[in-house]
Subunit: 415 residues, 4 copies
């Protein structure tokens, strides 16, 4: 994990370097495509995270800054209305230029300019924006891994992202329940250290007495749901979910393939391999997570239950993170109960503003608030999340139909 | 209003009669079309509500019941997977048969059969299903009025649904704030009298101190938002809302038309008429309600704040309901603060299950629970809601993009 | 058949009357819907043919003419850019007003105005436009029958258009070949009597020696193609046709339904009835006609071969026309070889201008010429064509994917 | 130009080499994308042309042939139903693997295997298939240039394909008419040398006396059409064309951009440059070509008129071909009248089979015949066509809406 006491400059270098390292195993060709609208080309991520520093830090704060290329704002702006026109999102995968090498040149130019700015005495405004820029880049590192897995894992040749890194196959422990006390609980960020605006508005929430699973649902358990006709019985499904299942003829999690040797799944860790039945299930969307929970006789936790349970039972900084370098889900011991790492956990909470939430002024204010409709909250980070990036209060969010992310299931129930 | 002490049989007759009365002013042709997928043909509503009694009461509970027509289940089932195959929803508007008269014959056959069943000693199971069937039909009566307004109001001839019924034009009183106390509040239905399953799971919610407007936002106030460029400034809008505005080039609420004489709106009460600037704004969707609130410097209330405020300040049974027979929004005095009637009020709450909620067994269980994703809660009823149909705990829900319903805005803020 | 020596005024009355007679068996509801974009609501046909007289004759030629309703041009213009804005075609089926009765009132008003104009001494310009207007209305009478059959025949209740009119079941005679001589042939209209502009440009065409079937392909023969896997073998199909088959999972002609009693088809003559295996196949599109011909080892005739053969072997004015009142395909004796009536016959000719063709000036010029791309020519008329409306030179045209028209197959080959 | 007397083996090597040379100026990234369904990734062309030799020659004819990679048939089959399953066309641009280098390895493997086969005594069957394979690859070389121009020319950075190769700017000579005699003419290929099956069925056609322009329409002439409101006057347009103009808000040929310095166009020869007003207009579709001709008071020639005129007035082998290495349209002197090279010329003829045409047996039979509907014929080749690939009888065909090809306009009229 990145050292917590690293200087801003050191941390800047480490984070920036990691994005390039994630793309190292790729061919130039792999950087270009956008097979579905949600999957951005890897070189777009490399450019966009760089443009973020240029647009939000260098241009406003560095008086003599020369924009690297006037056309790049058009190419690399994602969704910031306050930052002008941009290429329509569905066209990202049509852009062969700038090339990967040109994007890397752009990165290095901006890195040098940032270095010059950071080596001078950085003021608090700069440090605040720097933290945002680095956390933003860490989010895109995780998206990069989702997108790379999509690009390679849907290719009929199933090219491996890297060679298989072996690990000890373990049996998953029996699921047990952790208690959540009835009563008032504080939710949201205490404002020490970095946090996103959507965690703010620390407030009280009343929780009814509940219990939450001490580990994630496994592939083996999910296979029972499948074997029991889970995908063909409307009773388990939300109406939108049932429509989704039928329109797409879904019968298994994303990246699973039935073969003569049984169920295989495509993994960043070694390519197409047999499903490890003891590892946590991943690549299920909200509809699937909710249907599984109903089939099992339970439910998904709310994001508030999850946060309270994580604070009580989780072990901050311990988990199967990006730094573990497994790039897949794992059976882990009971330490920390997998609240951190492995897979993002779907909660039953819609992504809405906390009390007192107000989006920041300016283009930075478009970061989170404007997405607060028709999305569900996920918590806890994944095996692609940097260990210093995740918190008990961290709110991730996706629309309920998505499953190319590293997402899984933890069960809950009332007492 | 329907007398509260009416016998089940009397109430059954009154409710059934009202559906037909709502369609009386229509031509046969008006009963047939489905101009958008959400708008069902009026004769489909007449048939579907009838099928509901046939499928959920007569077939299971009346031993000698003869199904009226075998093909009608296919034609009139809406979304009950447990009740077999049905015509795809987008095709409802292609069905010219059964004709209106044939549907009315079907209604009368089922009414007679229900009468025979109700005149015998009705058991508690029957009474429970009857209450559900009648509340279901009352919901469809409201939808009928939305859909009739859509069908006539988007016709280039702007035919009137009925002659204008005059009312006293009044000036809207200045908006004032009502307090909502910080602390724990009970939410949900007490289980006395009829309620829908989605109101169940009575539970405590902690609310932070807040205040809520004592009346609805008016057309005049909404026009200020429009005049201030509300529809062309992305800063007010959720991202999905901004996309919706631009894809549809929206510049005003639904049913508004700019003319040489200024803004007109199509009204069930008299057709195309000048907008009454003092009446509550209607036909705005969640995106518009939220954008207006942000532009005004406030926010929408949560459904919990709304319920608490309504219990404190609302006047149950008093409001501009269907029985008022205005069929439009009105300026009303401060009695009841418009919590009931006039327009459904968008809340900032996503439509999710309450704690302990569990969908009932059987096809009736498909009534509410399976829609609990990607919808927002509205509260309070409208000028098309029967006065005995609405409660402080009543949860209506629509997807955020819809605005053909009778929906409006009430503001809220933290203290 | 309409008497050939009838005065213009008599013919006007007869044609106008027939449109209303075609709609007589319909319920008001049947007049309203547009289940696919190509099927127009019957009341739209009644209004559009009336607007044609108003826009092209009464407004330009009757000095004191008062337009019946200013909004009707918007509602009833089909595609004449020169006649101003019009409702988008896909919205025709959303218009419940004007009602059927209002449209009939409009018809009668225009009929009276036309009568006044015609009773005065009509000049040649008026007579020319009158002939166009009447032929236009006859075309819409045929479309009316296609559309009525679509509307009733796709309704799950399969309502009959009229009671079955019995006819003598006959065995289809063995197919024989008729010769077409090699050499130069004159093609196109001689300009005696009425014709459409697309028949003009009489010109020579060189034909290689060929032969053409002396009757239409029957349902029984088409069933052999189906039984031989015709719909599942790509070898018979044009590429666009193969895509159409697979996208729509087509396995039989339109209006055919497999039942426990075998193949039934929906017929204007009596509703859902067993397929008459000796009658000509209908409701096949160009892709199906072409695939059948290839499967049979032959080909479709060109429109030039057809015209030459029809002139030699056809019997003008003899055939199974609208006036026969069968409203279905029939086995007919060898007189005339079915060139006229029964079903329109797909030719292998694309719909293109003849040499020297020039579209007329003005809005009338939009009648034919602007559709001369991506359509195929059909010849000969159908059982819905008035007997005095069809000629050997008459060119009908539809896009190759359509099959709700009354279209069938005649085979051809080289000598 | 390729020497006509080259041995099959030499020609094979030269053709295969050229495909790789065309892609030389590209970056790896440029080889991957499919910005519209019609534009295939350059590396797909490199692979598909190679698979063609593998599937149609090596596998059937080389007894010991080892397929290079089992998955490649799935990836590189274009539309041959007879050759098994293949990736859906819209997904070609999602495939990052095989990489460009891997595709080149595949090419070289197949080239070696082909060399071994050709060095042995090649029989007539092999030579026939070889000619087909080489002509097929030449067609894809031209498509490669269309697609490369699309990929680079729609990139906001407008990267140049190569440096500008200067040429002498000339004034276009005044257009004159060439006569086409009335009478019978032979059309189609004489069967000496290679030809495609769609040129077969040599037959007589009667042509009415006509005249045809002695050169192509220029950019300057097309600009007059634009300046005269050509794109905003429905009178010039086919109905489908008018819909296309309005749906896409078309105002100029493809690859044209209005700037402060006037009209620029993207060119393979040097990138974004001012439009040469004397050079032939290109990147217009059939709708535009037809509308221009009507506006000018003329028409497009039929493919038969074109072929007859080309035989009389064209100069086979002389023209602005690929080998000229201009990669753009040019003013050329009157020798040959530009019948060959520069741009493909839209004719008014639909792409239909000639008399006696019969598609060959086997998968090769899917090459041409199955596309004979809804396409228009183009004649004459372009600046991207190899000089030895084009003939007076050569029939190219595209759907009328396409304009990413190198297509232009020649006018015609009746005498």
């Amino acid at each position: 994990m990145l050292a917590v006491d690293s200087s801003p400059f050191t941390k800047f270098l480490l984070v920036r370097q990691r994005s390039e390292e994630i793309c190292k195993p790729l061919e130039a060709e792999d950087h270009v495509v956008q097979p579905i609208v949600d999957v951005s080309p890897p070189k777009w991520h490399l450019g966009h995270t760089t443009w973020f520093f240029e647009a939000f830090i260098l241009q406003p704060l560095k008086s003599d800054y020369q924009v690297y290329d006037d056309t790049y704002a058009f190419v690399f702006n994602s969704y910031y209305e306050g930052k002008g026109a941009r290429i329509i999102r569905t066209n990202r995968g049509n852009l062969t230029r700038p090339t990967v090498d040109e994007v890397l040149d752009y990165r290095h130019y901006v890195d040098e300019q940032m270095a010059a700015l950071l080596e001078a005495d950085p003021g608090p405004e700069l440090l605040k924006l720097l933290a945002l820029g680095l956390n933003h880049e860490q989010q895109h590192q995780e998206l990069l891994l989702y997108d790379i897995k999509y690009i390679l894992g849907t290719n009929p040749l199933f090219p491996a992202y890297r060679e298989f890194r072996s690990y000890e196959l373990q049996t998953s422990p029996e699921m047990k329940w952790l208690d959540i006390d009835e009563g008032l609980h504080m939710i949201g960020h205490e404002n020490e250290g970095f946090s996103f605006d959507n965690e703010h508005g620390r407030h009280q929430v009343f929780l009814h007495g509940a219990r939450i699973a001490d580990r994630l649902v496994t592939n083996g358990e999910y296979l029972q749901f499948m074997a029991d006709g889970g995908y063909t019985n409307y009773r388990h499904w939300l109406s939108d979910g049932w429509d989704w299942v039928n329109a797409n003829q879904v019968r298994a999690p994303f990246h699973w393939h039935i073969t003569d040797e049984g169920w295989m799944n495509y993994s960043l860790n070694g390519g197409l391999l047999p499903v490890d039945m003891n590892a946590p299930v991943q690549h299920v969307n909200y509809f699937e997570a909710d249907a599984f929970a109903k089939w099992a006789g339970y439910r998904l936790p709310t994001e508030f239950e999850w946060e309270v349970a994580c604070r009580s039972h989780g072990d901050a900084g311990v988990g199967n993170f990006f730094e573990s370098n497994y790039l897949q889900t794992m059976v882990v011991g009971q330490s920390g109960h997998q609240f951190y790492g492995d897979v993002w956990e779907w909660t039953s909470s819609a992504y809405l503003p906390y009390p007192y939430y107000k989006a920041p002024e300016g283009a930075v204010g478009e970061y989170n608030g404007k997405f607060m409709v028709n999305q569900m909250v996920l918590r806890g980070g994944s095996y692609a999340t940097p260990g210093d990036h995740i918190r008990a209060t961290y709110r991730n969010f996706f629309q309920p139909q998505h499953r190319w992310l590293f997402s899984g299931v933890r069960l809950a129930a009332y007492q």
